[in-house]
């Protein structure tokens, strides 16, 4: 069995681990995020990107991958109160938004992701 990889435009390959997380965080870019989303049957819209960029900003600022509660509040502060709701994030990213967004945003995989 070959190593899992993400195939990107122009024949570029990015290594993933068994659970579909990036093997090297430095590989992350917007193409990678789009391809990771595509794997989950998601097409990223500007609304998705606003949140993905916000999670990267959260990580830059605090050195943490946000829990849903913190992400909801942070979203409200930066993207407006009407978006600072877990329902909004779930509509965009599905059932466990904080985990999914962190993965798409190329944050370190959480140790307790099972």
């Amino acid at each position: 069995m070959g190593r899992p990889a993400l195939t990107l435009p122009h024949g570029r390959h990015v290594a993933l681990d068994k659970d579909g997380y990036l093997a090297r965080l430095s590989d992350w870019d917007i193409e990678v995020a789009a391809a990771l989303a595509h794997q989950e049957g998601m097409t990223l819209t500007p609304a998705h990107w606003d949140v993905i960029n916000l999670v990267r900003q959260f990580y830059q600022e605090f050195g943490l991958s946000p829990a849903t509660r913190a992400l909801v509040k942070y979203t409200g502060q930066h993207l407006g109160a009407e978006k600072g709701k877990s329902l909004y994030l779930m509509t965009l990213f599905g059932g466990k938004p904080a985990l999914t967004i962190s993965r798409l945003a190329g944050l370190p995989r959480p140790a307790n992701c099972f």
Binding site: F58, E61, G63, L64, P66, A67, R69, A70, K73, Y74
Partner: protein
Amino acid sequence: MKTLTFLARSGPYGSSKAKALLDMVLSAAVFEQKIQYIFLDDGVYQLLSDQDSAQLGAKNVSAALPALDLYGVDRIYLDTESLQARGLQSRQLLIPAQPCNSDEIRSLIADSDMVFSL
């Protein structure tokens, strides 16, 4: 809901204790417990602003403290005697913390279901 009190008594970087206690606080916050986070003894060093751990090859453990508010942790206390004993009373702090003394810490502890100190 339980009242959990955390005594942050260790400075950052010299050991993993500051981070270990912070991780407990953040986990308890996710479960929406009533949290009291008290910085005292060497723990007050965690609150100094302008920490830069780049030369250590270590993460800045205090960078996460400003996120506490987003986790709903808003009962944050600072033992002013510990600050004074270390000559830090005039230093700029990373996050707002309610100044307190031993008497007040005693009553915070008396109100707690569980206390964790690192």
